[in-house]
Amino acid sequence: MNALEELKHQFNDRVSFREKRPGITQLVAPFYHEDGDMLDIFIEKSPSKNKLRVCDHGMTLMRLSYSYELNTSNKERIFQKIIAENGVNEDNGNLFIDTVKGSLYVAILQFAQAIAKVSNMRHWRREVVRNLFFEDLETYVETEMASYHPQKSYQPISGDADHIVDFCFNSRPRPVYLIGVNNERTARLATITYQHLIIKKQHFVGTVVLESTDALGKRDWNRLLSAVDKTFPSLDDFREHGKEYLNRELV
């Protein structure tokens, strides 16, 4: 019995195979994504001697990229952790497990599980990524902008703990304050803080870094824009232009 016949037997004849390309067999099995599409699992000879490769030819990451990009070091780190913990390797987007013929069934189950976990990273946009944004912003300011002597969680008005900014770059003639914004709540807090400082006749430059321009509704956008002096529409934009902006403002 060859490997595929044995595999079909182990799946109780509930799977079939389709030749995708010469030497690449697509597994047709009842494993589905949440949108009803079958998991993309291929079986082929491994470059390793006497082994088979279970792989996806980049399909998992392609699907993930529809709505979620591995575009920060933290997201990449989490992705690498997921695949490592599930015994999966990656070669330029191709997720794979190399296995011997006798372990093909187990490898496929393991691979399917790993695909599901990677695909579920898109759900993190609302929860974990919210925290990753502030972590990434903080890391960038404290490492790459250390020469500007940022002060974290700064109280512009001494004793007023209700109005705090994420960072203060303090220099004459006016300090530059920075607040990270990733949703309506943080947008409203930033608006309230900066408007309060204006009412109190503080001299400052108020900036915000947005996680994404998608984060806010129209009204929150309008209120925020009327209260701040400078908006960076994304963390990438802040990384690209933040230093030159501070150089101009802190002269």
Partner: protein, 168 residues
């Protein structure tokens, strides 16, 4: 989770859209697939639609062109429409008689699935509208009613060999 009626979903797909962040001139190769993106809004700028275009680098028949929708004031992003190639099987398992198919298909958002907190684009229909990524993209751009798409996709805009319902 966002709630939209089926009429709202259909109107969002069909409404006239403008390109606010154009696509790159060429698709970029990244981790096993070729990729391009653009961003649209409705003509009144009230609605924002990210668009993604993907082709697998190994299997050119494994492609996808999709219209997402950013639900205003929420962190939800839902897929309204997605045109796929014959990458593998799809099943509409929630139907009274689940159907499986292995061919070109189009995912369309359904309000009832949103209500059940399932992925709204879980429903997919077989299509005969296209046989390649380029044809799928042309179909997608026209179906989503995107103004000025011809300027950004000149190769797609050239007259299709099959100009009618599969007839040359």
């Amino acid at each position: 989770m966002a709630t939209l009626t089926q009429q709202q979903i259909d109107d969002l797909i069909a409404c006239r859209k403008v390109i606010v962040e154009p696509p790159r001139k060429e698709m970029t190769e990244e981790r096993g697939s070729r990729r391009n993106d653009m961003r649209l809004t409705s003509e009144d700028r009230a609605h924002v639609f990210p668009v993604f275009m993907r082709i697998n680098s190994t299997f050119q028949e494994n492609f996808s062109a999709g219209l997402d929708y950013i639900v205003p004031g929420e962190r939800d992003r839902i897929c309204l429409l997605r045109c796929n190639g014959p990458h593998g099987e799809h099943v509409n398992e929630f139907l009274d008689e689940p159907d499986h198919h292995v061919t070109y298909h189009i995912h369309t958002a359904k309000a009832e699935l949103l209500e059940q907190q399932k992925l709204p684009e879980r429903y997919a229909d077989i299509t005969k509208e296209y046989a390649t990524f380029e044809e799928a993209l042309r179909y997608f751009l026209k179906r989503c009613n995107i103004a000025g798409w011809e300027e950004h996709f000149p190769a797609i805009a050239r007259r299709s060999l099959f100009d009618g319902k599969g007839k040359p």
